[in-house]
Structures are given as C-alpha cells and as structure tokens.
Amino acid sequence: MGDTPDRSANAGTGGPRVTIGHAGSAGAALSVDVPVTPADRAPDGAGRRGGGSGGGGTGLGGGGALPRRSAFGAERLFQSFTMAAGAMVLVIIVAIAIFLIAKAVPALNANTANFFTFEGWFPNEAQPRFGIGALAFGTVLTSVLALLLAVPVALGIALYLSHYAPRRVGTALGFLVDLLAAVPSVVFGLWGRDFFYGPVQEFSVWLNKYFGWIPIFGGEGPFGRSILLGSLVLAIMVLPIITSLSREVFRQTPTANEEAALALGATKWEMIRTAVLPYGRPGVIGATMLGLGRALGETIALAMTLGIVSSISFNIIENGGNTVAANIANAFGEANDTGRGALIASGLVLFSITLIVNITARAIIYRRREFTESAA
C-alpha cells in the first residue's frame, strides 16, 4: 500500500479497507473542490479540527497543510438520507399496526363467540360469530405440509445444480427453476383447480382405499379439493425460492473444505455431507423460512384449491381446509363493517404467526452462531 501518491491519499481518507477506497478518494476530491468559508465551519465545533490554515490546493498527495473537512457535503447528505429511509420503515409499520388494531378491535368486541376456539366464520350476521382457530390451523397445516414436500426436493435440485450437473445443464435448469418463481400465484391456482385436481383426486381415492386406516387418509369423501391439493400446489410455489437460495449457499462452499473432505477419502456424497451441507445449513434454514413465509401468506392459489371449510381436521384428502389468507380473499367481497374488522383481526393473527416463525428461525441460526460466524 501507498507506493504512489494517489494510493496513499486513498488510504488516508478511505481507511484500511480496499473496497471503500473509491468512496475515500471521492470524499477527498470533494473536500478540496468545495469552497468552505470559515463561517460555515464555525458551528461544528472548531476545536475538533485543531489548527491549520485553509485548504492548501496542493493536490491529493498531500504536501503543505491538510485540507479541512467539509461541514456539509455529500457524506452528510447521504448519511441523513439513509437514516431517514431507516426511520421510514418504523413509521410505516407503526402506522399500519395502528390502523389494523383500530379496525379489528370493534369487530372483536362485537363477536359473540370465542375468537380463539369457535370453528366457523359468520361475522356478517346480526350476532357475529367467528373464530380464528380453524383458519390458523389450516394455514399452518398447509404450509408445513408444503414445506415437508418441497424442502427435500428443493435440496436435491440445489445439490444437483451446484455439484453434479454439467455446467450447461446446470445453467439451463437453474434458469427454469427461477422461471417457476416468476409464475403468478393465480396461474398456479387455476392450474391446481382445473388440471392438477384430477390426478390428486384419483390419488386421494387410492390413498383412502389402501391407507384409510391412517386417520389423515380416512373419511368417506368427497376427495380432491383438500389440504393435500392445496399443499401440493403450495409446495410447487415455494420450491423455486428454496432451490435457488440453497443452490447459492451450496455453491459458496469453500473449495478448500471440499478438497479437505475429498483428501480424507470421502466419496462425493460423503464430501457433500461433511463439507457442503453443514456449511450451507444456516442458508438452508433461512431459505426454508422464506419459503414458509410465502406459504403462510399465500392467498389466491389456496383460495382456489382448498375446499373452504372452516373446521379443524387432520384429514388431508377430504374436501375441506381453509387458511387465513384464503378466507380473507374469499370473504372480503361480501363482508360488512364487522366482517371487514374480523378479517383484519385474522390478518393480525397471521402476522403474529409469521413473526413467531421468523423469530424461531433466527433463534435456530443464533444458537449455532459460534460455528456459522467463523464459517463466514
């Protein structure tokens, strides 16, 4: 460092990190170019700057007196801008929360049934009765089922793309996976309802016939527009997110670690288990949580594929199932004032579920931070 005058100027203003060297040189140039009058500088506490006469104009390399720091420049402007942007997030969240609570509370007060235990959604009647239990249950059940179906497949695709596929195949397949993420959810909903419904229904009948003794596959039918159909469609929808994020973290596994495993006599799969999967673990958890977030909030595809029955049942093949978001989509049109308040209240519950999921995910990652941080 610092064999030329140019570089030493960067090092002085930009700190030791090479990456911010450009910012440093820009700052230095500014402080020379912008004429700074003594009056401008005065309010900022002259004591900090010490003595020294005005900007020398002897070039970046130094020589002569050092130019003074500008009191108002791009640095300050940018700092305030980023701070304002940060504060904005807080303001928006608080504003939304206030609005939601203000709308939800009157509806909850009008509710003549228990909001948490009542199975059903009749907020528009003279005696409004509605409960979140079945909806929250359906939301969590479809999402968890979707993840159980999607994660193993997604990890398989991600590993294939990052470690097995020939480069050209990998690129093409990766592009297709990303394309899947770009399909609007209403299209998935239509596809699930009008096409995928058929095979799933036949499969459900088959499951019921041979595995009906297992409660989740029991019942007398009708089958098809079930939790299973919703979860399968949901699984396909969250697959691309989990796949592409996992692929990225698997790709970033240090070659040194992969070679260490191979040099110990690991086969390819053993190498992946020893070096790649542990390294990618936090990333995979993060990807799964993002997928779960999407699954929990998914609205229209589930509104179109589920049976829309607000009851708590572990049966996954019979017509039925409903989720918070799907219920909002289906019920909002004919909702009166109390009805809308009730839906907003259900939205708040969905928000809390998502929050709990996120906190749990962070806790999992945090518990292993000693290992993951040194990995970074």
């Binding site: 260490a260 040099a263 006599g265 390294y279």
Partner: protein, 258 residues
Amino acid sequence: MAKRIDATSVTAYYGSFKAIEDINLTVEPKTVTALIGPSGCGKSTFLRTINRMHEVLPGARVDGKLTIDDQNIYERDVDVTAVRRMIGMVFQRPNPFPTMSIFDNVVAGLRLNGVRRKSVLEDAAERALRSANLWDEVKDRLGKPGAGLSGGQQQRLCIARTIAVEPQVVLMDEPCSALDPISTLAIEDLMFKLKDRYTIIIVTHNMQQAARVSDRTAFFSIEQTGDPGRLIEYDDTQKIFSNPNVKKTEDYITGRFG
C-alpha cells in the same frame, strides 16, 4: 506403515494445457522429500497427482504410472477414495471444517471410514492431536469450533485430521506459506517427528525450509510460461543445496532466477 512411491512418466493436464510432463521420481519410505521450483512449474500439480486430487478439477487428467508399493494407483479398477485414505494431504491454507468442533474436525476422516464408537474416536483424537503437537493447547476446548484457533494451530489441526486416519504417506502443499515464523517452526518440528512413521512429501517455496526439513529434494522448472513443468534434478538435499549437477538448479538455489 510408510510406503515407497514410484512415479513413471507422469504427465498431467488441465483440459488441453499440459501442466507437467514426464515426471520420473522415486520416494523412499520414511523420508521427507521437498519439491521446490518457481511458481507455475507444476510441483503442486505433481503433488496432487500422488493422491489423485488433481482429477478433482474439471477437465484435469493424468497419464503415466504412479505406484505405491508396486500398486499402480491409476489402474482402472482402483477405488479413488481408498487411495486418498492411504495418502493424506495438508493444504496451503489451513482448511478445518468451519462448522465442526476441534474434536469433530480431527475425527472427520475416521467417521468417514465408519468408526462410530465414542471411546475409539476419543483415543484416536488424542493420539492425533498429540502427534500434531496440539493436544496441550486444545485439550480443554475440544468442543469449540476449529476455525476459532490461530492460523498455526489450525494448520496443526489439519495435520492432526490427516494423520488421525493413519495414512501411509502425507502430502503437504506449502503448509507454512500462510503462517508466521513461530508457527512455521512448530510445523517443521512436527515433520521431523512424523518422519518416523510416515513418508512425507512437501511442496515449498522456502528454500531454507527445504534444506532444513528434507532428506531429498526435487527441483522442478519450466522453460517459459505455457510450457509444461519438468523435473530438472532430484537428489539428496545436501547435494542439491551444496553442489547441484544442473546449472539451472544452481541458478535457482542461489537466487539467480525464479
């Protein structure tokens, strides 16, 4: 334990680029052999052909014959993983598995071999760490991450991991180039100690190091960039550093080029 290595006209390619050509060299058991030469002369490539790590890179391949006690490791039906279990490798930069504890790092190779018994693993870990001169420094924190150690300790951890599986040969690819002089000394001491049990081949850029630690020295060089690396001279270390047969070796040793 230790085995003799015999390379016969070994040639290695990266795609269409020929990195080393026609290397013939015999390494006696329980010796330290140093591979020296200017950058890009193929000494690391040659080292990686000895445990078939060269072919890990896409497009890389090897011609010729390399025998370990008369068993050609490039025979068609040879299990690559068995070769690598027999021939351990320590890399240029310390590369402990970042998500694993010190203990798990040391026994990683044993676990890959299917060893599950806790007592066996604990004994092996202690033995390997003692051999690597690291036991006293880490015995109280075996459950801590291996990546939390200093660079020199990490490299000794990697050596412990390598020798925990009791290989026949230990390959070292510039094991001290990322370390400070004190850690380097610790590793060099370790090599003396390991020589009793293992055949060691070390690639180094540091000629003093080669002179200090090795019994035999092989000098590699290239004519110019793009040419394959060749073995110029291979002899006792003392001979190479005092009275080499080839002018080019002498020029390199005395710092006239490279």
